[in-house]
């Protein structure tokens, strides 16, 4: 385990060496940003709308006491979306969608000698392959999380209309009531850290693949599993430190 941690840190060090040519690396960063951001927008939108709607209905169901104002369901749904569902659930989904793609892409390049070809040319392979993915991860995941938060709250509003669990007016009142900007800051910190973990762990697994197609698949699986575990651990740490 310590050997793996050491190799992971050394790989990160190599990834952030000075690029051979900034313009070539910048192009790679843009390609990865489009892949992570635009490529994941569909799935993130779908899960955010449904989770937002389901959360609102469940909270409304559990707070059916006449002593509790109906609008409180909107507040709880909002904070749940901002603090937990949007950053964490979205990142777990992104670990599956983006992380497996990173690990298998780099792993395939390793087993087909494309990484050796880069090194022979004098290219810093970790820098060229991994740093654009990490930059894309730490910039695009927070943006996706912001979109996810907005869609989650919208999903709750739609659920109010469709199911009548609470009135849309109560829901809006609850969403506006007692909003604390700290929750958004916590969500963005979580998203940035999760983006880094997904990109770096999955790239690490791909980079040290050896063998053939079977091992590429195993690396992708390991990358997703390890990043999910680390996302949940980091979620707990950030939550306990910031709230």
């Amino acid at each position: 385990m310590f050997q793996s941690l050491g190799r992971y840190i050394l790989l990160l060090q190599l990834s952030f060496r000075k690029p051979e040519k900034f313009s070539v690396y910048w192009r790679e960063v843009m390609v990865e940003m489009v892949s992570v951001g635009i490529g994941s927008l569909g799935i993130i939108s779908i899960i955010s709308l449904f989770i937002g709607a389901a959360t609102t209905i469940q909270v409304a169901f559990q707070l059916s006491s006449p002593l509790v104002p109906r609008s409180i369901a909107g507040s709880i749904s909002r904070d749940s979306n901002i603090l937990e569902f949007s950053p964490t659930i979205s990142s777990l989904v992104l670990a599956g969608r983006v992380g497996s793609s990173f690990a298998s892409q780099i792993g395939t390049m390793r087993v087909t000698e494309q990484i050796d070809a880069l090194e022979i040319m004098g290219v810093n392979a970790p820098g060229y392959l991994i740093s654009p993915k990490i930059i894309a991860g730490i910039t695009m995941v927070p943006m996706l999380v912001i979109i996810s938060i907005m869609l989650g709250i919208t999903g709750g509003y739609i659920a109010c209309f469709v199911t009548g669990a609470i009135s849309p007016a109560d829901y809006i009142m609850g969403v506006n009531d007692g909003f604390d900007g700290l929750t958004i800051r916590v969500a963005l910190v979580k998203a940035t850290v999760f983006g880094f973990l997904i990109a770096s762990i999955c790239s690490y697994q791909g980079f040290y693949t050896s063998g053939g197609a079977l091992e590429v698949g195993q690396s992708a699986t390991k990358g997703v599993v390890f990043s999910c575990v680390w996302i949940l651990f980091a979620d707990l740490m950030i939550t306990s430190l910031m709230l």
Partner: protein, 250 residues
Amino acid sequence: MIDIKDIYKTFGDNDVLKGISATFQTGKNNLIIGGSGSGKTTLLKCIVGLHDPTKGEVFFEQDNFTQMDFTQRVPIRTQIGMLFQNSALFDSMTVEENIMFPLNLFTDQTKAEKLDRANFCLERVNLKDKNKLYPSELSGGMKKRVGIARAISMQPKYLFVDEPNSGLDPKTSILIDELIAELTVEYNMTTVIVTHDMNSVMGIGDHIIFLHQGKKNWEGSNKEIAHTDNQELNDFVFASKFMQAAKEKL
């Protein structure tokens, strides 16, 4: 010229290379031959720095490549071209982008100049008008030729070739061998080829090193190989009935 001195390479308990020394001359096709598992590819990887030798040194001209760090190696690496066994073309790039890739990173040429160079290299390997194809759209022989075009795009001083004929039909193999031999003379390169193809050995082997069980067992030219009394080499070279018949005619 490349000098390798007393190269050892060990993986765990497995001693793959056991003290190999040799000199690879400029303008010649230097072949490393040997059976499967004899250490050919490991030696090649030690020379180009993909593996660090357990012991020993590699000199490119007077420069001790083994003792250099990554940054110090870059100027030498930009003078190295390599053709890999599976060509190792970048899947996400077109043929043209593959050839222009080292130019993009290590030269200040304009886009038009880089395009001209890519077209020149493609024409040189007889692949004109294939610029916009992706590696997945090419045959094995075409991939090898694109690999050669990429390897010569920076006008290298050193060319390394790993199993150039693997997976190719005999006619295409000869074309690839001839192309490598022509380019070696044209660019006055030090070319090192790892192969176990006897057509290559007899056709372009200016200087041949035979590895057996991780050691250099024989060294000479293709003219000398037919008349050697080295038992291991004879067992390797003349293993097939075709080669035995060819030897009898010599």
